[in-house]
């Protein structure tokens, strides 16, 4: 552009010179006259440029250069703004990406919208095992519906099983998925290597590896297909590898291999489940025929389901109280395109909420900073406006000044999110869940998440930043004071800081809440008997031990362990959360469960449990038990502190009552504290050992392995770890959340404090003349300080109230009662979080206010 203009004008000049030469002038004379005629070259260029108008890109480049120059002159501001935006955008991108994966990602199968899963809330006959009761059914029920329906193009069933896999002399514990033979066919997926299950494999000893396990353990070697492995005691052949990205229909699971259900009884002959109508352990998913709606299928299946339910009810004792409810269960078909009841889980939801808070705080912070700087540049803005910079141009300039650090921060945050995604999921979730989440980053989702957070940032941050451009500028030039324009601005800045106070109060509450929970649990841990212990699991059924044999083995091991040097006590237990009945009380809601633990004779002694009421358990081992003990939490939560001794409880579905004979002191199990019922060991084939020692626990590991190998060859202890490690694993998510909340809470609080200081200092500067007058008229320093503090306290109080309300609202919305940590009695933490932020903010305001008091009246008045 520039050079062309010069060239054009140069041409004209030279023709003019030629004209003069033709008229007879000398070359020197000709040039001189031409130059005189020409006048100012730059002026002409300027006018031409103006006439042309400047392109949008030109303007943008100018704005950017100016904004960049301003930023380099204020590196502190630039760094803070960029980093905060990076934190906000990065964390919300990451959170929404994870959330999207966990809750919204469609399964990588053919036509996921045709898939439905079975759901039927209500009591189950007999045992029910699975993540959610309402989606578990027995194998005979599945088989009967599969063979007697007209509405599905295929009905599959799945379940989990943990087993021992031996390959080339290496044994490890794996997570298996038992699936019906038509699993892959119904899902419509292709193998990554080899083949998938087909009709000829019926009852066959075949296995399909998951892509993830195949990569991890077999190095992605195609030669793995055709190899044989031993699962428990059964030799099976690997026929193929499933497609990458296909994990499980159950959310959060990442199985290592899939095997046909039909070999369950060969895998685990000790616990045959295929013909049991009183064992509900399978999820059922079907593909609807085209043209059939869910409602119609539901209606058509209802009579079949009723009949099958009635058959199941017959397996229960006559006195079973749940019979009527069982018979009235309905079958629902739920869309399963994203898996069976996919849910984000409280962790991800909390992370998203935190990320949103951080993002909003970052925007408020950046907007406030921009406003503060604009206030300092009042004069400059006024002059520029007076010189003819249009309102629009000023607004564009300020917008670019806001967007430049915002965009830089946003991009930084995006790359940080991508970079730490893997590490974060591993820190936040247990291994299996983490594997199912951090698959290949889906560029589309990531960009969408980034776009959403970036748009939020711009919307919430740009608006206040534009404010200075919209005000009148005349007043500034006249008085040199910041008066009229300042008013609207100050309120806005106050509003921004109030928002920051509110958000940081919320985050600090979260930090306190989680920290307190951790500390409380930690205190439990260092009660008597908690240090220096190890734990491990033994699965005797995998190697064919029947309950009686297993019991003898376990007790033998317990004795030998207790006799080992350095060991202070050994015992074993196993159990899970179960529904039960308490004589004289109706326990209907899902929260009314207790941990039912069958324990060995030495367990309570080994764990250092103290009997606080009644007596201990006898040695009688039977199911259902006759005598049980409960813990303090049970007594407190279910009986309001009254003595349970002499009362009766009954495991749901059993027909015999057990008497409570004693109460034991609380001890947390793997990181959480629940009402518990203890009864004597009654034949479980998988148990968890607890061995307490006076020496460093790691020293026991090899001794334990040798002992088990000697006493029960082929049975391998798994999850062998110290109690400390187990606790750390179990509380991994909680500790991660605490760390995140503390970091972000402190960060936003620091910024809020700085914001308060800034706004207060600004207000003081604005009111300097007034202060001067007051002091000249005799006001004391104290009254000036309190006058300023009144302004500050407004922000703090409103911020605190808003913070409390917001936190309560968010908690109620995101965490319906019972899910996640117990929010109900968190009011002390709420108060603590709010007070801390309020105190820090008040302190900052006070410091600024004290600055006001130091203004001598003469100086203040002179500034007018």
């Amino acid at each position: 552009m520039e050079s062309e203009l010069s060239e054009e004008l140069q041409f004209h000049f030279e023709r003019q010179v030629e004209a003069f030469l033709e008229q007879g002038c000398s070359p020197g004379e000709a040039r001189r006259r031409a130059r005189l005629l020409f006048g100012g070259l730059e002026q002409v260029k300027e006018e031409c440029r103006d006439a042309r108008g400047i392109s949008f890109l030109e303007t943008l480049r100018q704005h950017l250069r100016y904004a960049a120059r301003l930023l380099t002159k204020a590196p502190g501001f630039a760094a803070t703004a960029v980093l905060m935006m990076a934190a906000g955008v990065g964390s919300s991108t990451l959170a929404s990406w994870l959330l999207g994966q966990a809750a919204f990602r469609a399964l990588p199968v053919k036509a996921p919208e045709e898939l439905v899963s079975f759901r039927s809330p209500g009591p189950h006959p007999g045992f029910c095992s699975g993540a959610q009761d309402s989606t578990c059914f027995s194998y005979p029920l599945y088989r009967d519906i599969r063979d007697r329906n007209d509405v599905f193009n295929g009905l599959l069933a799945r379940s989990n099983l943990s087993a021992e896999l031996t390959f080339r002399r290496r044994t490890e514990r794996v997570s298996l998925e038992l699936v019906s033979m038509n699993y892959f066919e119904v899902l419509g997926v292709e193998p990554a290597a080899g083949r998938l299950f087909g009709q000829s494999d019926d009852g066959g000893r075949v296995a399909v590896l998951s892509h993830e396990y195949w990569t991890r353990r077999f190095g992605g070697d195609a030669a793995a297909v055709g190899q044989s492995i031993v699962l428990n005691n059964l030799r099976v052949t690997i026929v193929g590898v499933s497609a990458r990205g296909l994990y499980s229909l159950a959310p959060g699971r990442s199985p290592d291999a899939m095997v046909p259900i039909e070999i369950q009884e060969m895998l685990l002959p000790v616990h045959p489940m295929l013909s049991a109508r009183d064992y509900s352990w399978m999820n059922i998913v079907g593909r609807l025929k085209p043209g059939i709606t869910r409602q119609r299928a539901q209606a058509e299946l209802a009579p079949v389901f009723q009949r099958l339910i009635a058959e199941e009810a017959r397996t229960m004792p006559v006195s079973w109280p749940g019979r009527d409810q069982l018979l009235s269960r309905q079958l629902e078909l739920i869309p399963a395109g994203r898996g069976i009841e996919p849910e984000a889980g409280w962790m991800l939801v909390s992370l998203s909420a935190i990320a949103v808070c951080v993002l909003l705080a970052a925007c408020a912070n950046l907007a406030g900073l921009c406003l503060a700087r604009a206030a300092a540049r009042q004069k400059e803005i006024a002059i520029r406006t007076a010189l003819g910079a249009g309102r629009g141009r000023m607004a564009r300039q300020l917008l670019v000044e806001f967007l430049l650090p915002a965009a830089a921060g946003g991009l930084l945050g995006l790359s940080a999110a991508v970079g730490v995604a893997g590490a974060v999921t591993r820190m936040a979730f247990d291994e299996e869940r983490a594997r199912s989440l951090s698959s290949a980053p889906d560029a589309g989702v990531l960009l969408l998440a980034f776009a959403v957070s970036a748009t939020t940032a711009i919307l919430f941050g740009a608006a206040p930043a534009l404010l200075p451009a919209l005000g009148r500028s005349l007043g500034v030039l006249n008085t040199g004071n910041i008066a009229p324009l300042g008013l609207g601005q100050a309120s806005f800045r106050k509003a921004l800081v109030t928002a920051q106070v509110a958000l940081s109060a919320g985050l600090m509450f979260g930090a306190f809440s989680f920290a307190r929970a951790l500390v409380k649990q930690n205190m439990w841990r260092h009660g008597p008997g908690k240090e220096n212990a190890i734990t491990f699991l033994l699965d005797a059924a995998a190697k064919g031990y029947y309950p009686a044999q297993a019991g003898r083995l376990f007790q033998r091991l317990e004795q030998k362990l207790s006799a080992m040097p350095g060991v202070r006590g050994a015992g074993f237990s196993i159990g899970d959360m179960s529904r039960f009945e308490l004589e004289g009380r109706r326990l209907e809601s899902p929260e009314d469960r207790s941990l039912w633990l069958q324990v060995s004779a030495g367990f309570l002694g080994a764990t250092g449990s103290v009997v606080v009421e009644g007596r201990g358990l006898g040695l009688a081992s039977e199911w259902p038990p006759r005598a049980v003990m409960v813990n303090e939490t049970f007594r407190r939560r279910l009986l309001g502190g009254r003595s349970p001794v002499g009362r009766h409880v009954r495991w749901y579905g059993s027909d015999k009552w057990a008497e409570v004979v004693g109460v034991v002191r609380d001890q947390e199990a793997a990181g959480f504290l629940a009402p518990s019922v203890y009864y004597p060991y009654s034949g479980a084939t998988t148990v968890a050992y607890y061995v307490r020692t006076g020496r460093p626990p790691e020293l026991l590991f090899s001794a334990v392995k040798e002992l088990v190998e000697r006493e029960a060859p082929g049975v391998t202890p798994f999850e062998l770890q110290t109690i400390d490690t187990q606790y750390a694993e179990a509380t991994r998510s909680q500790r991660f959340m605490t760390a995140v909340l503390c970091v972000f809470g402190l960060l936003t609080m620091a910024l809020a404090v700085v914001g308060i200081y800034g706004v207060t200092a600004y207000v003081v500067t604005r009111r300097r003349p007034e202060i001067g007058v007051r002091m000249a008229l005799g006001a004391t320093a104290g009254s000036v300080v309190s006058m300023v503090m009144k302004e500050v306290s407004g922000m703090i109080v409103w911020g605190a109230i808003a913070g409390v309300l917001l936190t309560l609202l968010v908690c109620r919305l995101l965490f319906p009662a019972g899910v996640g940590p117990n929010w109900g009695d968190e009011y002390p933490e709420l108060a603590a979080g709010t007070l801390v932020v309020a105190a820090a903010a008040a302190l900052a305001g006070l410091v600024a206010a004290l600055g006001a008091a130091r203004i001598g009246p003469a100086r203040a008045l002179r500034a007018e």
Binding site: F11, E47, C48, R52
Partner: protein, 110 residues
């Protein structure tokens, strides 16, 4: 403008330029020369007014420019009339006629 030349009423320069390039593409010097010649030296356009006017006209889309070789084989920017420019020229000419007629009548009756 030198003393001997006339002051152009505002906006007339654009009209003159449009008319000149209507006869054929020309570079800035040629346009100025042509106007000077045809008006028998009454109108001498200086580059200080000419080039801004040319650029303004180009921005408004009434002329378009192209680089080409001049008579003495040097590079020069040629301007030519566009279709909207043609329409605009016709409109301006008609307007000028009406203006001149009206002013003359008033002066004639004075």
């Amino acid at each position: 403008m030198t003393d001997r030349t006339l002051d152009l009423p505002q906006g007339t320069l654009d009209l003159l330029i449009l008319k000149t390039v209507a006869l054929g593409a020309a570079h800035g010097w040629a346009i100025a020369q042509r106007i000077q010649q045809v008006s028998r030296d009454a109108l001498q356009i200086q580059q200080g007014s000419l080039y801004p006017a040319l650029h303004r006209l180009e921005r408004r889309g009434l002329v378009k420019s192209k680089w080409g070789a001049s008579e003495n084989n040097r590079r020069a920017r040629y301007y030519e009339l566009t279709a909207p420019g043609k329409k605009r020229l016709a409109a301006e000419e008609a307007g000028w006629e009406r203006l001149v007629t009206a002013v003359s009548e008033v002066l004639g009756t004075a």
